[in-house]
Symmetry: C2
């Protein structure tokens, strides 16, 4: 894991908690059926791997035909995504699932939620970006769950209630 | 339907064709199973209604618990989306599905593709924006297909091959 400053970790913890709480309190509640639980677990497992390994933490979770809808970019295959540069030293991406649904057949599902990305800006200050995502999960022929595609976009900086 | 200038229509026709052709030739091919056909038909039906009615063309296609992931905005419920202003006079949104998958149980599916939005900029010139989207479709209890959520982001202006 990259060395991360204590300030950055604190900032991340605060931002994640505040942002996720806001998103949940807004309109959208987690539902608690088994399909949702499974998809939330998958989603959180990816987040844990990304916390440990940065961008490379995604790779093993992508289906062979994975595509990513890069914001302000193109539709990029998993193969081409793997060739991209790692994030800058100390950058962090974290996210929180809000809602998930699994098909009755248990072979296809999706998760949406909110993400936070923290990295140093050009002046070396911690800059926080906010956004949301939708990830499509598909059970593969060998029974493993993999991400078929994911897309995200940006959100405004959440207002605090103070 | 709003009155639309001939220039704008020509521009739209050109942009749509060129952009969709590029996206398809890149990596991603339409597959042709029945689930995909169904989802493409649903997707194209919404596009036809939006061509006729503008933003309001979406409304009947949204599930009761529809949510939209507004780019640079929030996660917005269908109820709140309906309250938003219509697009400016003469604005056009069109899109082309590239790929769709339906769960084996036939109750949940998704479509992704590319979109083009044309509207007058502040100087009154036609401005074209490009992007991509993922739409989640869910069969409702009454058997009707409705959009559960949709998310899009922007893409760079496609390069022509000239």
């Amino acid at each position: 894991m990259n060395r991360i400053s204590a300030t950055l970790l604190l900032l991340l913890a605060f931002a994640t908690t505040a942002y996720a709480a806001k998103a949940k309190s807004d309109t959208f509640k987690r539902n608690s059926d088994k399909g949702t639980e499974l998809l939330f677990q998958l989603d959180v497992k990816v987040a844990a791997d990304v916390a440990k390994e940065g961008r490379a933490g995604f790779f093993t979770h992508w289906a062979e035909d994975y595509v990513e809808f890069v914001d302000s970019g193109d539709i990029v295959s998993g193969e081409d995504m793997r060739k991209q540069q790692p994030w800058p030293q100390g950058a962090l991406l974290t996210w929180t699932p809000i809602h998930a649904e699994l098909a009755a057949s248990g072979d296809l599902g999706y998760v949406y939620g909110t993400w936070i990305f923290i990295a140093k800006d050009k002046e070396g200050k911690d800059a926080v970006e906010y956004g949301k995502y939708t990830t499509i999960w598909k059970k593969q022929k060998d029974g493993q769950w993999k991400v078929a595609s994911s897309i995200g976009n940006s959100s405004p900086t959440p207002k605090t209630d103070k």
